[in-house]
Structures are given as C-alpha cells and as structure tokens.
Symmetry: C2
Subunit: 370 residues, 2 copies
Amino acid sequence: MLIYPPFTPVIAALPVTVPFVGPEAQERKSGAKFRARMGANENGFGPSPRVIEQMVKAAPDMWMYGDPDNHDLRTAIARHHGVSIKNIVIGEGIDGLLGLLTHMYVEPGATVVTSLGAYPTFNFHVAGAGGRLVSVPYENNHENLEGLLEAVRREAPQIVYLANPDNPMGSWWEAQDINRFIEALPQTTMFILDEAYCDLGPATILPAMDIARPNLIRMRTFSKAYGLAGIRCGYAIGEESVIAAFEKVRNHYGVNRMAQIAAQTALEDQDYLDMVVRKVKAGRDRIAAIAAENGLQPQPSATNFVTVDCGKDGAFALNLLNALLARGLFIRKPMAPGLDHCIRISVGLEHEIDALAEEMPGALEVARAL
Amino acid sequence: MLIYPPFTPVIAALPVTVPFVGPEAQERKSGAKFRARMGANENGFGPSPRVIEQMVKAAPDMWMYGDPDNHDLRTAIARHHGVSIKNIVIGEGIDGLLGLLTHMYVEPGATVVTSLGAYPTFNFHVAGAGGRLVSVPYENNHENLEGLLEAVRREAPQIVYLANPDNPMGSWWEAQDINRFIEALPQTTMFILDEAYCDLGPATILPAMDIARPNLIRMRTFSKAYGLAGIRCGYAIGEESVIAAFEKVRNHYGVNRMAQIAAQTALEDQDYLDMVVRKVKAGRDRIAAIAAENGLQPQPSATNFVTVDCGKDGAFALNLLNALLARGLFIRKPMAPGLDHCIRISVGLEHEIDALAEEMPGALEVARAL
C-alpha cells in the first residue's frame, strides 16, 4: 500500500472541486468548436490596438522577470484613481487576490459571509483556507444588503463579500446603498467589494474612493471592460497598511511582465474603453431583445452579460442551456437555488449574437419538449 | 484610533518581507539603468524566435481566459517526459507552485527542512503558512545530503526541499546521489526536488522519472533555459493523486493564456534550447575566466550563473558586489552564513560579460581599499 505524506487537515477534508469548467474542456469533450463564446463574461471586442502593439513589441523581452513591485502599473492605477501607489496591490487577476485575502484573514473555522450563488471562486478560496461560509439568499435578483448585514451582525465574520455590479445576476446597487452598507459594518469585518464589472455600468454605482477605511478592499480587473482576461491582471484598492500586508503572502514575481505592460497601456487608452463600453451596451440591448422576443425575461444588467429569467424552474433553464450548448453556443447559468431559473449570456460579437438569435427558438423548442 | 479586521495569528506575526529586490527598484533608486542585467539568473538569449512569433500572433486573443486545465501544455509536457498528463500540474512559475505546496502540506507549527541559504522564496512561503524552518548548512558549497537526511530523521518534517542543480551555489549532485537520498527518506516526508536549472547542467544529474512515488514532487520552469521568466510558467511532476490535490487549492485561471502558448512552443523547439545551452556554457566559461584572472575562485556550475568565491569574508564580498552595482552591473550575492563570501553572476550577453571584464578590476580595487 502506498503511504502518502499527510496533507493538512483542511486540505485532506476538501473535495477536488473545480469552480468552472472551461469552454476548451467542453470543446474537447464534444469534439467541436463553439460558434459563439458567450459563457465566461469575456470581452470579445478585445484589448485596445495600442495594447496589442505594446504586447507585440514586448514579446522578445519576456526573458526578463516582471518588476516585482509592479511599480509603473501601480503608479498609473494610483493616478487613475487619485490615490497613492501605497493603496494599490496587483495580483494574478481578482481570483489571485481573493486567494491572498483568505490566506490573510481566514483561519480554519473562521466565518465568511457572502450571497448564495455569488462568485464561486471566492467560496473556493474560503474553503481552501478552512473557512466556514454563511450564504445569504438573493432577493429579487439582487444581493440582499439588509440580509448580508444581519448575517454580519449575527456571525461577526472575518470577511463579507459583495460584487457590485453582481455576477451572475448583472444587478447592482447605487453608491449610496453601498455606502450605507459600509457605514453599518463592524470595523472588525473586512468588506471585499468586488467591482470587476464596474466600468460597464452607470457611474452612479461607484462610491467615492475611501482609502482611509481599514475594513474595505475594492477589487478591479483588466479582464472585463479592458478585454484582457487571458493576461491575468487585477488589483485591489485599500488602506495603506492593509495593502502592505499583501507583501507577507503574495507571489512577488507572480504578475507576468506582459500583463504589467498590457494593463498599463490599456489604462492609458480610455477612449478605446469608452467605445467598448458603448458596444457592450448595444450588445446587451440586442441580447435582451432576443430573449424578450422568445418570451423570456432579460434582467437589467450593469455588466457585459445579460442574465435571462427562463420563466420556469431550474431544470427547464438547464435544459435550455444544454440545448444552446449543443447548438454550439458557449453559455453558462447560475446553479444556486433562487437563481437557477436563469441562464447567463455574455455580450459577444455581432456574429455571435446573430447565432444566439438563430438558435434560441430551436433550443427553446427542445427544452419545452423535454 | 483605527480598528483593523484581525489577520490570522500567523499573518499578524509575520514581518513584511520581500524575498528579492528587483533590478527595476534599484534602477529607480539610483536613477540610472544597469549596463548589464546579470543578477536574477534570467536568460538574455531570450526565447526561441518561434515562441516570439506565436506570442505576437496570440496578442489579439488575450481577451480569452486561458484554458484552466492547461490541457494542451500539460499534454506536451507529459509527452516530453514520457509520463501522463495526470502527472503534471502547471503553475505561475515554480514560486507559485511552492506556495501551493506549503498550503497543502504545512499548517502552523509544522516543520520543513531546507538548506541554510537555499531558495528564499520557498522559505517565504513556509513562513506564510506558519511553518517552522529547520536549515542545514551547506558543506563545501554543496547542499549537504547527509545533513539533510539527519535533519529529516530527527525532525520528521512535512517537507524537505532541495534544488539540483543548486541555487545560489551552482553546485549539483549526480542522479545516483539524489536517488539514494530519495530512497532514504521516510514516506511521510514530501520531497520537493527543485530542478529549475536542470536543462543547463549535465544529463547525469537527472534521476529517471519515478511518477509512482507519493512523496516526490519535481519542479521545472520555463524561466531559465527556455528564456521565459517574464511569462510566469512552471510545472510540477508527481504521483497522480498528489498532482490531483493541487485542484483543491490552485488558482484555476492563474496561468495566463500567453504563458500556455509560449511554453508549449518553447518545448517544441528543442534545437533552439540546445543552442542556448551551448551559449550559456560558453558564457559560464568566460565569467569563470574573468573571475580567475582577477584572483577570485569561480565555482563549478551546472546552471546559468557562476558563483564566485571572493576569498575573504562576507563583508568583502558585499563591498565588491556594491562596487559592481555602482558600476552599473546588476549582480546578486548569497547572504547566508557559510555562503556570504561569494557573489553570484548570471550568464549575460557578450556585451554584458565584456562590461564585467572591464569593471571587475576597478571594483576589486574599491572593495580592497574599504
């Protein structure tokens, strides 16, 4: 019999779970390429041409490690937000930063509050740290601020997580609601405010920058509006000494050199960003129209995806999803109770939305017949 | 007074330390660019032209997340080593994988054995997990296999770490020595065999692939011989169920898309690798000759750097290092007792080694006068 070096008790107790199955795995399984890649909230309009130009120019330099301080990128981000470089830490996407935060704040048995059906990768990291997750159901397709506050008061958790705008529902809260939530939190609970999609919604959802508050970390990414999901670059904005603590645990050379260059250039091209945001809005409107034409209920969205209420139960929505997948459309759906009657369609390129328009009636027919 | 959400006790107790200061930070401080970048064991010959071509081609596709399974790259690596894809996990450099391994095996208070002065980033991750590090001094500029074994027998650690070839000394053990070490280890201690530099040394140092052994993980990287440090891609080779356990903790989308493409292409161009390895050997010989001409003792090396015994104490070696830095040469030195009489010079391009030859006599003069 093989004897294994023992894992820590937390790791030994964890199942081998994968938060998401990638579209490539699905393509390998089916043996066919998707016609439309609208499942991972990627941004098919892609990065700015200036970003591509800089990546091309930088390719031969990839023998050099990236600057472990991410100095130039942090400087550019700090200027963009009108804060200090000391308020910014860069990570391998928001996912990487969420992993670090759970490492910093969650020990085995510690409590973390989130919404039931919110970002699974955050839950994955909490589980990896041995944390205990308390989940508050959504209310009317919104994360329930009052419910989250009640859970926080009851549980006194290490962390409370909220995405604004929300994924997977696309809903949002206005800045004043978020601010009231922040004011009501106990100072001993860290609030992770995930704003991955914030560039794609109305400006009124963004609270003013408060970098004096030691229990607030805001998360941003170059994966969504900036069209750079593949390059892995996100950042956190927070109070100086909280940001400094990341130095204790982060993989100092983890943010690749190409990402630093691409992200910095992307930030400089705000005109391109504005154009992409307009295109995303137009795409959202088209997807919503297609859903409505087919008798489904598109939900309002402040993101680059439209969550569509399929009007029946989770099994029906799953059947519809599978029918769309079988027709070559990569789309995903929320699986949590309360959200599982929906499918989630990322804004794709025109020909991808065309494919959705073409395939939706047939897919619905299949789902209704099951 | 500000109230902060409490860190875990392990994190709260850690100092804010940085394993390495990057050359960019030194340049920012001095206000001048280095003439020669020979401090981080990067490979200035760079990646294969085919790799650059593929990176250029892939730049516009960076809006897509990378395949979270790293399927194609793992398949290529598995084929390269004659093992299964199930024996391979990809990470954000070896550094990233070392962080995951400490997460998996080290809980607060657990013991880890390494050599005194060996890879600081590993120690950083052990500290981040709250581990207790037991360090065995080098012997004759080699990691001390017998000493490590004694420590393992005495301490029954979770992990024992060894780099072969070694960094920072450049020394190595032959495969049969490594095999004897492996055979002597208790099955409950995980052996991390860091082979980051193995492509640059004699083939005789590499044990045959043993992917049945549950307490052996071998680490490889595209940062050194393959010239892709900036892209962040390393991998671990190990027994199937050990590799599967990484799924519990790894950042599934952490390995960027560009890295997957670049690494796979790099692996395919073994002719280019062979050429680079020849150039690195020639560069090593030249650096060794320059050191010897200046009355210093270059150490034999199986890596892309030459560690040079400066013949006096640590203070003298540090003075020499500082004099070389002041002359625009980015070089590093080991700081641990027993190794600190040395400086470590990475193989650079011809003009960089020229700069070393030019500046060494003057730098030595300065160091001797202090």
